[in-house]
């Protein structure tokens, strides 16, 4: 790997996940000198075991609140309490490492929701300054560059696309046929879930081996298309990109004119270092990027970097979540379906209610993803315990645990919906609490808009109807109207008006001409899908813009 030292490089990128990785690849290919600073470690495929305790229940991905707390208030008026929520994976590749890899595109209508819902009070939606058509080529690019498997043209509500997916769809469990039949019985249009998992070998990566440990785990064969498995190695191979892991950026330095000059960071050995760069791109997640900008105060930027509008940290949005489940009794299933099948993917989704048919006023729905319940044993048992308040234990819990493995196959549906940004959901810097480096932490204030909770319920009911029609019994739901904290957006929204946005259409700060933000911060609305694909596509889009500037000698 090329080493640049701390003299001025063309671009310094903070964060190596969905917002940083594609940008790094594009710029490195364009010949820019690129340094990526990543606060977490650089795991290799062999580090990703199925040891549930180590990987998904300790600080392998997400720091302990005792070391690096977030402060979280889950409802307006609730006190702030230390939490590990609001972090995505702290490692090279960020949240793309432990994602499930459900990668849907936004729909064209998503780019103009403020206009559509101007009559609905209480939200702070804004229209995007770009259209679906402007982003579409970059969706194609990310599907190709990171590797996405899927089948185009299966359902009438599919967002426009130029051609087939670059990888054929993944194999799936025979129970998927039940979901198909149930959906069709209800007049719905199921389609195969597009996944950021490669179904055939490519770029030195193995095809998926169907180990069934995607979400909350890293991929042991690099089949999951994390940026760490896909674009980062390609960027490093250009010899124009250096990645420094274990480097926590804590301030962006500026000169008297207010231009960004360098990133100050703490290395894994505790050394404080300054990396100079012509252009600085922040891609540390919507929460952590806002924290960094707010912490980077100077005479020219007394309220935080690029924050004259006061909007840095505001308009935070997530994705709403609902989970519905139901059990198929093995004894009642035909032989072909009863036994454990080696392939655990169901690979079915629905977007019939991306806009809820017949709902007056606010009709923004979302996406229902069907899956078989995750096989992680502790997680399974914990979920069963949590289905009762207070928690279930003793004989009853043990019976449930053994039943879950022996007697039933559990079908699940996850519902992803629009999280309406609102004045009560934001990130602020809280200097009263410090992390292990003595840095002020992010205080996350959350409040759901009543309309998005109501729609989450509508979609959960729809998912429930499908599971029931598929033969599932003992149906239940969790977290309806809940929040997916790993999907974060909006804290530096882009727009054409600098009074109402932090970034311009190229995700460049309105105030700091060499500062860009390329994680989910730019998104003025969250979409009714997990946002990872969109963040990656936009990162390629911004990269193309910067590469063009470089070609014209204007990268500064």
């Amino acid at each position: 790997m090329k080493r640049f030292g701390t003299d001025e490089v063309d671009v310094c990128i903070i964060g190596s996940g969905a917002g940083g990785g594609p940008l790094a690849l594009t710029l490195a290919r364009a010949g820019c000198s690129v340094v990526i600073l990543e606060k977490g470690p650089w795991y290799k495929a062999e580090d990703f075991t199925h040891d549930e305790i180590a990987i998904s229940r300790r600080d392998f991905f997400v720091p302990y609140p005792s070391a690096e707390p977030h402060l979280l208030s889950r409802k307006q008026g609730d006190p702030l309490e230390p939490s590990s929520l609001g972090w995505t994976a702290n490692c090279v590749g960020g949240g793309t490492v432990h994602m499930s890899g459900y990668v849907f595109r936004l729909h064209p209508e998503d780019f103009a929701l403020a206009n559509r819902y101007r009559g609905i009070p209480g939200h702070t939606l804004a229209d995007w300054p770009i259209t679906y058509q402007e982003l579409a080529p970059y969706y194609d690019m990310v599907e190709r560059e990171v590797g996405v498997s899927g089948k185009a043209g299966e359902y009438p509500f599919e967002p426009p696309r130029a051609g087939p997916y670059p990888f054929p769809p993944l194999a799936f469990n025979p129970l998927a046929a039940r979901v198909d039949d149930a959906c069709k019985k209800l007049g719905l249009h199921p389609f195969q879930t597009p996944r950021a998992i490669v179904s055939s070998a490519a770029d030195g990566r193995s095809a998926c081996v169907y180990c069934n440990y995607c979400g909350s785990f890293g991929c042991e064969v690099n089949a999951k298309s994390s940026t760490a498995a896909s674009v980062i190695p390609k960027a490093i191979a250009t010899d124009h990109c250096e990645l420094r892991d274990g480097c926590m950026a804590y301030e962006i330095a500026t000169d008297k004119e207010g231009r960004a000059t360098a990133v100050r960071y703490i290395t894994k050995t505790g050394e404080r270092v300054e990396q100079k760069a012509r252009v600085i791109c922040v891609a540390a997640t919507a929460i952590e990027s806002a924290r960094l900008l707010l912490a980077s105060k100077s005479a020219a930027h007394p309220d935080g970097l690029g924050n004259k509008s006061g909007l840095v940290g505001k308009n935070l949005s997530f994705s709403t979540l609902a989970k519905v489940y139901g059990a198929l009794e093995r004894a009642a299933l035909p032989d072909a379906e009863r036994a454990d099948h080696p392939i655990h993917f169901l690979q079915r989704s629905l977007q019939d209610d991306y806009f809820v048919k017949g709902r007056k006023g606010y009709d923004k729905g979302g996406t229902i993803v069907f899956q078989l319940a995750h096989r992680s044993a502790v997680y399974t048992a914990e979920r069963l315990a949590r289905r009762r308040t207070p928690l279930l234990w003793g004989e009853a819990l043990k019976r449930e645990i053994f039943r879950a493995y022996k007697d039933v196959i559990e079908l699940e549906a996850e519902v992803f919906g629009e999280f309406l940004p609102n004045p009560h959901t934001f990130v602020a810097l809280d200097a009263s609490t410090k992390d292990k480096w003595g840095l002020a932490v992010a205080a996350i204030h959350v409040d759901n808009h009543p309309e998005d909770v109501a729609v989450s319920r509508v979609l959960a009911d729809k998912a429930r109807a499908v599971l029931e029609a598929a033969g599932a019994r003992q149906l239940g739901s969790e977290a309806v109207g809940g929040t997916t904290f790993v999907l974060q957006h909006g804290t530096a929204r882009f727009g054409d008006d600098k009074k109402t946005s932090v970034l311009d259409r190229h995700c460049k700060s309105h105030e700091v001409p060499n500062l860009y933000v390329t994680d989910g911060s730019f998104m003025p609305s969250s979409g009714g899908v997990p946002s990872t694909l969109t963040i990656m596509a936009n990162s390629f889009r911004v990269g193309a813009h910067l590469a063009a500037l470089r070609r014209n000698g204007a990268l500064r």
Binding site: D51, A171, I343, V378, A385, P390, W393, K398
Partner: protein
Amino acid sequence: MKASRRELLLGTAALGAAAIAGNACNEKPKLPEDDPRYQGLLFLVPIEARTVDAWIEQLLPADHPPGTPGARAANVLLYIDKQLAQKHFTTIARGVRRAAVILQRAAVAQGAAHFADLDAPAQRVLLERLQQNQLAAFAEKTNTAKTFDTVLLLALEGYLGDPSYGGNKDQIVWRALGDSPACPKPLDANAHRHGHHE
């Protein structure tokens, strides 16, 4: 084995009590806490270990469903003790220690020498009250409900997690479930037959 100060104190107290009771010989009397399972742990002293052992066996009792292992058979106590000894569990460990005292006090109030000496239904009644925060004295300002939930989650980890941490001894629980987190064997050609591969 290195005895903690607390352990030594408790041991001395037990010997003293035995002497008063008229045990003239020099041999240390055999106490349930002397069970080798409660010796040499990293955090829990023997008398606490016995409480926690009984506690988690109620959380995950053997033979429900019939023939399935309980927490004891899976060495969950060993797992929990190792976890509580870790720095990031300091606060939780303190809570568990407090809860063990509260259970012991409640058991003694019912005439038992130790929480583990109560029969299973009586243990469960006390645990239910612990879970509902109804057992601690107001002045103790202890959220036993939170501690109860944490112990339950740790017990599930020790029962169902990787055996390398000391619990799920010899994969006893995975074997009983008929499932383990190992990657499945390479797929045979027929495995894709339902997959509509193109």
